[in-house]
């Protein structure tokens, strides 16, 4: 497959192509108005084929298969875990996020070992249950979203089946989070799988020496299987081929995460693997990638802070370069905050600018004579305005209008911000009931809407409201308020 052909698949798939293969009964069981709407959403990857019950019937088997092929992401989507707590990894459609968007944010797993005490015996000791709980309880609220951590990786340092089995059992009891079981010895792995059956953990990992047994385990327990081939892409690929033929459907690839002097190889390997799949049509590499920044902790002698620092920055690089899962050690807040935020950021849809909630925001303690300002819900716009208002100090009402995350200038040009939408936003905010005055300050770049807006405000039941045109950049708010607030009565005739 040439690059053009691969690209065409994603970029130029028309809803019509998909529509022609659907049952076209317009039965609405999928929740959409009709099959065309469902087709459009499928192309946009907002819904999945399985949401169409008629399609899953025998008579549509051929079409279903064709649609699966048509919509199949170039990197297979692999599910780990069961029940409410599954993670989907992979499922990527493109190499660069600007070509479409990335799907399935990278999952972050934290290790516990089977030789860790269950509970800390003295303060400061690392213990299994406490660590698992810490992972579960991690939470940071960022622009209205809760950022959390995702999985537990149970490592066997004992290499003893019984020890491993009991540790895995404890973990399964302590948490519902999806799991990765890490052992190279198949009998150790099996003992873990026995107690984790029904949880569909990721088996880490198949290597040169154990691949067949690991494959059998993967098939027997119906689990995805990771392949570990440190710095050996020939072997990684060969093992991928072998395992696929063996019948293992869900693979995860680990070309090795090397700290320090090996970081170049690490990034180059990740890049080559992902690129071969996306641009070179290489189906053997069409699987998620797993990075293990945790390796920063082994081998190098250094302070805990230094090791955590190294792990942190390697993790961020792997998030930028195609890792679908990470196994990490450090649960320090200062390490995880930039990690989870960068992960969140890079997985936002570049076609849909990040937005904040469109609503009424208050600064300080605004009263009935405080200025009322308006801006758009483009996240960057909002944060800039918020920052300026906070720096300047004072009490304000800020109405954030929904322009689908588009900045003021573009929203005015693209007609997302119009006199009507402004009036709607003002009405819905309820600010008219909170203030005695009737002045609205709009962004300078929306100047041309000022007159029309006054008319529209009347139309939505807010007669007599006046529009003041604000500065083109929110840093000028200070100056504007100094000069024009409060507006002098009697100036208006």
């Amino acid at each position: 497959m040439t690059e053009r052909e691969v690209k065409r698949g994603i970029k130029q798939l028309s809803p019509i192509d998909v529509y022609m293969l659907l049952p076209r009964t317009n039965c609405k069981e999928c929740g959409e108005t009709n099959c065309m709407a469902f087709a459009a959403k499928l192309v946009n990857r907002e819904v999945s084929l399985e949401q169409c019950p008629p399609l899953l019937k025998k008579e549509h088997e051929k079409s279903y298969k064709k649609l699966q092929e048509m919509l199949a992401p170039v990197i297979k989507e692999v599910t780990i875990g069961t029940g409410e707590h599954t993670v989907k990894i992979g499922g990527k459609l493109v190499l660069y996020r600007h070509e479409f968007t990335y799907h399935n944010p990278a999952s972050i797993a934290f290790d516990v070992t089977d030789e860790m005490p269950l509970h800390a015996r003295f303060p400061g000791e690392e213990a299994l249950i406490e660590r698992v709980k810490k992972v579960e309880n991690f939470l940071y609220n960022y622009i209205g979203r809760d950022l959390k951590l995702d999985m537990i990786a149970v490592r066997s340092t004992s290499n003893d089946p019984t020890t491993f089995r009991s540790a895995v059992e404890e973990v399964t009891k302590a948490t519902d989070l999806p799991l990765i079981l890490c052992a190279f010895d198949p009998s150790v792995m099996e003992s873990g799988l026995i107690v984790a059956s029904g949880r569909k953990p990721l088996i880490y990992a198949a290597t040169k020496d154990n691949w067949k047994e690991m494959a059998d385990l993967a098939l027997m327990y119906d689990c995805p299987l990771a392949i570990f081939a440190p710095n050996d892409l020939d072997f990684l690929r060969s093992l991928s081929k072998t395992l696929i033929e063996y019948g293992v459907k869900d693979l995860v690839l680990d070309p090795g995460t090397f700290p320090n002097e090996g970081v170049s190889d690490t990034l180059n390997n990740f890049t080559m693997v992902r690129r071969n799949a996306c641009k070179g049509g290489d189906e053997l590499f069409g699987f998620p990638l797993i990075g293990t920044p945790i390796t920063a902790w082994f081998g190098e002698k250094d302070s805990k802070e230094m090791l955590a620092w190294n792990e942190a920055y390697v993790a961020s690089m792997l998030i930028s370069r195609y890792a679908d899962i990470l196994i990490m050690r450090s649960l320090d807040g200062w390490v995880q905050l930039p990690t989870v935020i960068w992960r969140f950021n890079i997985y936002t849809d570049p076609r849909k600018p990040v937005s904040v909630d469109a609503q009424l925001y208050t600064f300080g303690k605004p009263d009935e004579m405080s200025p009322v300002m308006l801006t758009t819900n483009y996240a960057l716009t909002y944060f800039t305005v918020e920052s300026d208002l906070k720096n300047f100090g004072g009490n304000y009402y800020l109405i954030v209008a929904d322009t689908e995350g588009i900045s003021v200038e573009s929203a005015v040009a693209g007609r997302y911000l119009t006199a009507e939408t402004i009036a709607e936003a003002v009405k819905n905010s309820g600010v008219a009931e909170k203030v005695k005055h009737k002045y609205l300050i709009i962004p300078g770049m929306a100047a041309r809407l000022s007159g029309e807006t006054e008319d529209e405000l009347k139309n939505v039941g807010l007669p007599g409201w006046r529009v003041i045109v604000g500065p083109r950049d929110s840093s000028g708010i200070a100056k504007l308020l100094k000069e024009k607030w409060p507006p002098k009565e009697g100036e208006e005739e």
């Binding site: 690059e3 660069y96 996020r97 960022y142 490592r155 066997s156 340092t157 290499n159 890490c182 052992a183 190279f184 880490y204 067949k212 440190p230 710095n231 020939d234 990684l236 690929r237 060969s238 093992l239 991928s240 081929k241 072998t242 033929e245 019948g247 090795g256 995460t257 090397f258 002097e261 090996g262 170049s264 190889d265 990034l267 180059n268 890049t271 080559m272 071969n276 641009k279 293990t292 390796t295 082994f298 620092w309 942190a312 920055y313 961020s316 690089m317 930028s320 050690r329 807040g333 200062w334 905050l337 930039p338 990690t339 935020i341 960068w342 950021n345 890079i346 570049p350 996240a379 960057l380």
Partner: protein, 413 residues
């Protein structure tokens, strides 16, 4: 056992053929799944072929529901060849600073020249590693504690600050921010500002980037003076914008830069079209090889992904032949500190801030490093050190030692 009849012999042959077809061989087994057998008793043994007769045995009926799968017993070879792309374009190489022979007194630094996306060493080794320029201000500035502690001994004395950055922190390039020229801050005159520039030029021998205050007209005036005073030193004037063009002052600055042999940084706000437009306009007055781009660096958490994507797009476009984007790129990574999360007290579980802040700047820098940035403006020494180290490491492949991590799963802490 009964004797084989003709029918049975035929069927047997068929089976043999079938098994052969299915690939029963040394490397592969045949497995039949979900098989139902109704049988009496049989022992099937080839040695019994010639003699034995099978009696009263109901031949097994096998319902093969799923087609048989052939499983490999050894690893199937599938050697790997990387997908290599040809790029019609490349990034220009630019030299910062000039030596005595060229009229300056600097130790020059070369950036740019990439012929592949960032650090695709499997395609080509980048000719020049990305470089860091350390921030120095011409006045005391409000800084987060994590940085302040590092510079408060010297921040009253710009030349001393510059010296520390070079001698203690190993800076290869310095950015001198003439913040005091801001009309809303101290409104220092161009004449005064250039005095500071001269001081710093005397104090250190690394190439300089001269940062303005952001006011288009003031910056234009200051840059023109600086250009004159720093003639021959090949400084980078940071930065010019399309606002300057609208205010009618762009031409003056660009011409001054060209006259006195300096470089110009064109700054645009996350908009490649405008970046190209600015480059086109600058190209009228100054050689294309003397233009660098700043596409805007948004802090981690405040839009870094926009910067990341626009840098990836710009670099790809340049490599695919868009000449208007083939300029080396600079990142104002210090912007990372604008993020509240870099310095704010968020509570005990997010401490220590002395690590969180520099890590914030580091992560911001690293993402852009992987998106193709050639020149970084940075502030915190820990972040600077890390980026320097990583950059160096990224420049060479083949150093990974598999044995170092082969048993990571079993490693004890």
């Amino acid at each position: 056992m009964r004797t084989l009849g003709e029918e049975e012999k035929k069927a047997a042959t068929k089976l043999a053929e079938l098994l052969k077809l299915l690939g029963l061989d040394a490397n592969r087994d045949i497995e039949l799944e979900d098989v139902e057998l109704t049988i009496g008793e049989i022992v099937l043994d080839p040695s019994a072929l010639t003699s034995a007769a099978l009696k009263h045995i109901t031949p097994p009926k096998m319902k093969a529901i799923a087609p048989p799968t052939v499983k490999p017993t050894t690893i199937l070879e599938a050697p790997f060849t990387p997908f290599i792309q040809e790029y019609p374009g490349k990034i220009r190489e630019v030299t910062l600073g000039a030596t005595k022979s060229k009229g300056g007194s600097r130790k020059p630094v070369v950036i740019g020249g990439a012929t592949t996306p960032a650090f695709y060493l499997f395609e080509k080794t980048p000719p020049n590693p990305p470089v860091i320029s350390v921030d120095v201000f011409d006045m005391k500035v409000t800084l987060p504690k994590a940085i302040r502690m590092q510079v408060e001994d010297v921040w009253e004395d710009t030349a001393a600050w510059a010296k520390m950055a070079v001698n203690k922190w190993g800076a290869k390039v310095l950015t001198l921010h003439l913040l005091s020229t801001d009309p809303l801050i101290k409104d220092t005159s161009p004449a005064e500002a250039t005095k500071t520039v001269e001081e710093v030029l005397q104090a250190v021998d690394v190439p300089l980037i001269i940062g303005g205050c952001g006011d288009p007209k003031k910056d234009a005036a200051v840059f023109k003076k600086v250009a004159e005073v720093a003639e021959g030193e090949r400084v980078l004037l940071s930065s010019v914008t399309l606002d300057m063009d609208e205010a009618g002052v762009l031409e003056g600055v660009a011409k001054a830069a060209a006259k006195y042999g300096h470089l110009i940084l064109g700054f645009t706000a996350l908009d490649l079209n405008r970046a190209k437009e600015l480059n086109r306009k600058l190209g009228d007055y100054i050689p294309e090889g003397d233009i660098l781009m700043d596409l805007t660096t948004a802090a981690l958490g405040y839009g870094l992904e926009y910067s990341f994507t626009i840098h990836e797009r710009a670099r790809m476009a340049a490599l695919m032949g868009d000449t208007e984007l083939q300029h080396p790129v600079l990142s104002g990574t210090t912007n990372a500190w604008a993020a509240r999360e870099a310095w704010l007290n968020l509570g005990p579980e997010w401490e220590p801030r002395s690590l969180r802040g520099p890590l914030w700047e580091t992560v911001t820098a690293l993402s852009l490093l992987l998106a193709g940035v050639d020149l970084f403006m940075m502030m915190h020494p820990d972040a600077i050190r890390t980026i320097k180290k990583v950059t160096q490491q990224l420049m060479t492949r083949g150093k990974a030692k598999p044995e170092k991590i082969a048993n990571w799963v079993n490693a004890k802490i």
